[in-house]
């Protein structure tokens, strides 16, 4: 019998209560052969603390990254609206409080970089963030100046990760980024695309350059990267950031017209949001998914998805097949 789709706020409350009662298998070890994930060390976790999210290592360094990060496309572009800025800062605070680390942005995203900078300063979180930004300018000679401006807006001395946004002038920008990494002014180099665009060129870049990260669109409905890009990332040891896991909410609106299947409870999913995000982060090639939100309850729920057991390959195939039938 299908379960009714649960309101995200209610779901979060219930999952936190279950977690407190020790009923959620938050410490369950994932199947190693399928999921090279690991739980972060937290020997002194209080019974009331929210379980820390699962992590996956960045292949080029083995540094663990929580499976769920925070995107900022549209949601953090709130301009000079003070109340909205504080709301974004609250989202960031909840994100870090739930064990999140990686926040992704771009100079293309309007005021988002300033809003993130405000959140990091006002919530005393500069030391906790894994800062992922992009370079997006042409001609590429203006790249270094744009990167300086971006780091100033974030308020960070250097970025952890810089990606060439949407492959714009990627040949020249990659030269700059690799030089910055060699000089110790950047930890990781990446490249980004979205909504399935320019995958052939992306594949060629992945084969020919020692990238640390690649960012791409991957969702329960948009699985184009499964065929070539994700296996290539695994083969080449490139970390993957999955953007648009909810397709800007469109996927959840579409799925929300249907009841959640009863067997979703076996996967510890009580909402379509959990179902969709769990599918994305359970792919062994995915290092981190970056759903964006303006709501504290949603960011907590997103992080909570990464604290439970992840579906194995058989369950993932069932999730995809069921979704295909509905869409």
């Amino acid at each position: 019998m299908p379960l009714p789709s649960t309101d995200r706020r209610t779901l979060l409350r219930h999952s936190l209560m279950l977690s407190v009662c020790g009923m959620l298998p938050a410490h369950a070890q994932p199947r190693r052969e399928l999921l090279p994930t690991s739980l972060p060390p937290s020997p002194s976790r209080s019974p009331l603390a929210v379980a820390a999210p699962l992590t996956r290592p960045i292949p080029s360094s083995a540094e663990p990254v929580p499976l769920v990060g925070l995107g900022s496309w549209i949601t953090f572009n709130v301009g000079n609206d003070r109340a909205a800025r504080e709301q974004c800062a609250d989202v960031m605070q909840a994100f870090f409080g739930a064990g999140g680390k990686l926040i992704d942005c771009s100079p293309m995203y309007g005021s988002s970089q300033d809003v993130i900078g405000h959140g990091l300063r006002s919530r005393d979180a500069l030391a906790r963030v894994f800062s992922a930004d992009k370079v997006w300018v042409s001609p590429a000679a203006r790249g270094p100046a744009q990167i300086d401006a971006s780091s100033s807006r974030w308020g960070v001395p250097r970025f952890d990760l810089l990606q060439v946004h949407n492959l714009l002038s990627w040949q020249e920008h990659l030269v700059t980024l690799f030089a910055m990494k060699a000089a110790g002014r950047l930890r990781y180099v990446g490249i980004s695309t979205s909504e399935g665009r320019r995958h052939a060129e992306l594949e060629q870049i992945m084969r020919s350059h020692p990238l640390d990260f690649v960012q791409l669109t991957y969702s329960l409905r948009d699985r184009r990267v499964e065929e070539r890009i994700l296996p290539l990332a695994q083969e080449r040891g490139i970390a993957v950031i999955a953007n648009r896991p909810f397709e800007q909410g469109d996927l959840l609106r579409t799925l929300g017209r249907h009841p959640l299947p009863a067997w979703a409870t076996e996967l510890q999913c009580s909402s379509w949001a959990q179902f969709a995000l769990k599918f994305v982060i359970s792919h062994p090639a995915v290092t981190c998914a970056i759903p964006a939100t303006t709501r504290v309850d949603h960011v907590r729920e997103n992080l909570a998805v990464a604290t439970g057991r992840l579906p194995d390959a058989v369950a993932r195939a069932r999730m995809a097949a069921h979704t295909d039938k509905l869409l």
Partner: protein
């Protein structure tokens, strides 16, 4: 470039309806009561354009129109909209260019008088200006937004561009290129409103 076909209108939206509405409301509050003053001046300009054949009156109308384009360029695009849309800096230059063109064609150079060639064109021009001045601010209310999110002539791009198109129709000697930017702005405004509504649905 085949990937261009994969873009949708919403792909170019950088902000939410809520954020844009908040920006509009904040701007309206900051410049109040300029809005009713500009709409009143716009109505006066419409009366002049429909009835007066005085070259001096015509110049005053073009002065008002050119001035509002420059005001929107600076006050809206440059100072406010640019905070959430990097393209607004370019739009500010486009609006300033149109403002200067109207001032040059209607104020500096003589001869851009209001002499509608036919009653039908006159009625259409008057109707378009009336819609921009009186009906456009009500669009926000019609879409269920608060009154502070109303966009009015002289303060916001779309009603200013639409009113300009109507006034240019009442001046048959106006060069056609003066309509290019207002037409493009009108199309852009409609597209953006459509995308915002779709994203908020």
């Amino acid at each position: 470039m085949s990937e261009w076909w994969s873009y949708r209108l919403g792909s170019f939206l950088l902000f939410s309806q809520r954020t844009y509405g908040s920006l509009v409301a904040s701007y309206n509050a900051e410049v109040w009561p300029l809005q009713p003053v500009l709409v009143t001046l716009g109505l006066a300009a419409l009366v002049v354009a429909a009835r007066s054949r005085s070259p001096l009156h015509a110049r005053l109308v073009w002065l008002l129109l050119g001035g509002t384009w420059c005001w929107v360029a600076w006050a809206f695009h440059w100072r406010r909209f640019a905070a959430i849309n990097w393209a607004a800096e370019y739009l500010a230059w486009v609006f300033a260019l149109q403002g200067m063109a109207l001032l040059w064609a209607g104020v500096v150079r003589p001869g851009l008088r209001f002499q509608p060639p036919s009653p039908a064109r006159s009625a259409l021009g008057v109707g378009i200006v009336a819609v921009a001045l009186l009906a456009w601010p009500l669009v926000a209310l019609g879409l269920g937004r608060p009154g502070w999110q109303a966009e009015s002539f002289g303060s916001f791009p779309d009603p200013t561009a639409i009113a300009t198109l109507g006034l240019l129709m009442l001046a048959p000697s106006a060069p056609g290129w003066l309509m290019v930017i207002p037409l493009a702005v009108g199309a852009l405004g409609v597209a953006m409103a459509w995308a915002l509504q779709a994203a908020a649905a």
